[in-house]
């Protein structure tokens, strides 16, 4: 207990707690994944099953499904802790809220974002995306879902105690650059063009987004506790 005062101790503690809570309930990590696959399979049902048509649509379809799946799951980041009072206790403890936000976002990404990466591999078979494109798809989704978790945490902190649809309306317009860049990475990989420049831009957004959006989330939480 000597290292109680280090920030990393709190980070590990919150992360462990959140992961333990999530894995106790199968719904928290399985439902977004299944939701993602359901949305993916709606597109062939609605648009027809011609292979080349579907594979040309697949980057956009996969990204839109990832966006929806990760944003629908953000409601759980702060709302449950807000309802049962855990959030109040943490704020009363006097520890920096930043570390709480940071750990919560990372836990949320581990529980919903990382399984999406696995599910996206399955979805490439559904949508006949050529096998060589799995790497750009995974890398773009890796950075993109991290960014979406950050944005989602900000939206859910702003709308603590409100419905998830409100935070989706606020956050979805802000996530458009992520969508455009993510799709641009995969489409330029399909056309054998250089996709690294888009990837660098997305990475730069993540580098700015981690401190920037975490700070904004901290501010959004403290608005609720004036």
């Amino acid at each position: 207990m000597n290292n109680r005062n280090t920030l990393f101790f709190w980070f590990k503690l919150i992360l462990k707690r959140d992961l333990a809570l999530s894995f106790k309930k199968i719904a928290t990590f399985l439902i977004p994944l299944v939701f993602f696959l359901i949305v993916i399979s709606l597109f062939p049902l609605a648009l027809g099953t011609e292979n080349s048509f579907l594979s040309s649509l697949s980057p956009g379809v996969i990204w839109v499904a990832a966006l929806l799946a990760s944003l629908l799951a953000v409601e759980s980041i702060f709302n449950e802790d807000f309802r049962d009072g855990t959030l109040d206790h943490f704020l009363l403890s006097g520890e920096p809220i930043f570390i709480l936000v940071f750990a919560k976002v990372f836990a949320h990404w581990l529980v919903t974002g990382a399984p999406l990466l696995l599910a996206s591999i399955i979805s490439t078979f559904f949508l006949f995306l050529p096998g060589g494109l799995v790497l750009p798809l995974l890398v773009s989704l890796l950075i993109g879902t991290l960014l979406l978790s950050l944005l989602g945490a900000f939206g859910s902190a702003l709308t603590i105690g409100k419905t998830a649809i409100l935070s989706a309306v606020i956050v979805l317009p802000l996530s458009i650059p992520i969508l455009i860049l993510g799709v641009a990475i995969i489409t330029s990989a399909i056309n054998n063009q250089d996709y690294l420049s888009y990837l660098y831009f997305l990475g730069a957004m993540l580098a700015v987004g981690i401190p920037g959006l975490c700070l904004a989330t901290v501010e959004a939480i403290s608005i609720n506790y004036d």
Binding site: F154, L158, T159, K162, L166, V169, I170, L172, P173, L174, I176, P177, I180, L181, A184, M205, G212, L213, A216, E219, A220, I223, N224, D226
Partner: protein, 241 residues
């Protein structure tokens, strides 16, 4: 300036002048533009919708910027009036953006042949409209007025940082729209008899915005401060006089 009673006094004295002046400027601009400016050699008379379209698009963007500035004032100094400004400006900004979208669609039909094109500037204007709706939805869902102000301030400040990124990413599509009409650094690309009425229209739209803003700010101040002494006194004077 920052105190609501002072601003209320000031706005009440200014408004009887502000509305007629705004209408006068707007009328001069619109009548000149629609009635007397020469018609375009390519588009004919259709282009005259520019006198509504461009001012409202400019307003839609600059109101968002103003909201971010007042939002940071609200967050940093907790100025009450800045939060009220945000609440009064957001519906106006959304309306101007909607006017820009609709007038653009009406202009696009005869010139491009469609009501809507997924072009960079149209798309970012549409996204701007969605951002406005998000802000309005956020503060109207929060019962506590002060918290609503600060939440709306925060989302407008974060939004104004992300808007350039949205614009940049949307620009990566090919652009069909004509380049901007106004530029601060280069001389106008249209003749003075088209340019001047447009400029007057833009100024008139700004004046209309300020008048409408003062008007709804007054209402917001009265509602918010209805339990304070000065509002009671004001209302009693109104009722008796």
């Amino acid at each position: 300036m920052g105190s609501p009673p002072f601003f209320f006094e000031w706005a009440s004295r200014l408004l009887p002048w502000l509305f007629p002046i705004s209408f006068l400027i707007l009328m001069i601009g619109l009548v000149w533009g629609i009635g007397f400016a020469p018609s375009d050699y390519k588009q004919g008379d259709v282009y005259r919708i520019i006198f509504v379209h461009v001012p409202s698009a400019i307003l839609g963007q600059s109101i968002y910027l103003m909201m971010a500035i007042f939002g940071s004032i609200c967050l940093i100094w907790r100025a009450k009036l800045a939060g009220m400004f945000l609440r009064s400006a957001a519906p106006l900004g959304a309306s101007f953006t909607l006017i820009a979208l609709i007038s653009g669609a009406v202009w696009g039909k005869p010139t491009w042949g469609t009501w809507w094109v997924w072009d960079a500037r149209l798309t970012s204007t549409l996204i701007l409209f969605f951002l406005y709706v998000g802000i309005i939805g956020l503060y109207s869902s929060i019962d506590n007025k002060q918290r609503g102000d600060r939440a709306a301030s925060l989302i407008s400040v974060v939004g104004v940082i992300i808007v350039p990124i949205i614009k940049k990413s949307v620009d990566w599509w090919q652009t069909l729209h004509q380049p901007s009409t106004f530029s601060l650094t280069s001389s106008p690309s249209m003749t003075a008899d088209m340019y001047l009425p447009l400029l007057i229209c833009v100024i008139g739209f700004y004046f209309i915005f300020v008048s409408l803003l003062c008007n709804s700010l007054r209402a917001e101040i009265l509602t918010r401060e209805r339990n304070t002494g000065w509002v009671r006194k004001y209302l009693n004077n109104k009722a008796s006089g």
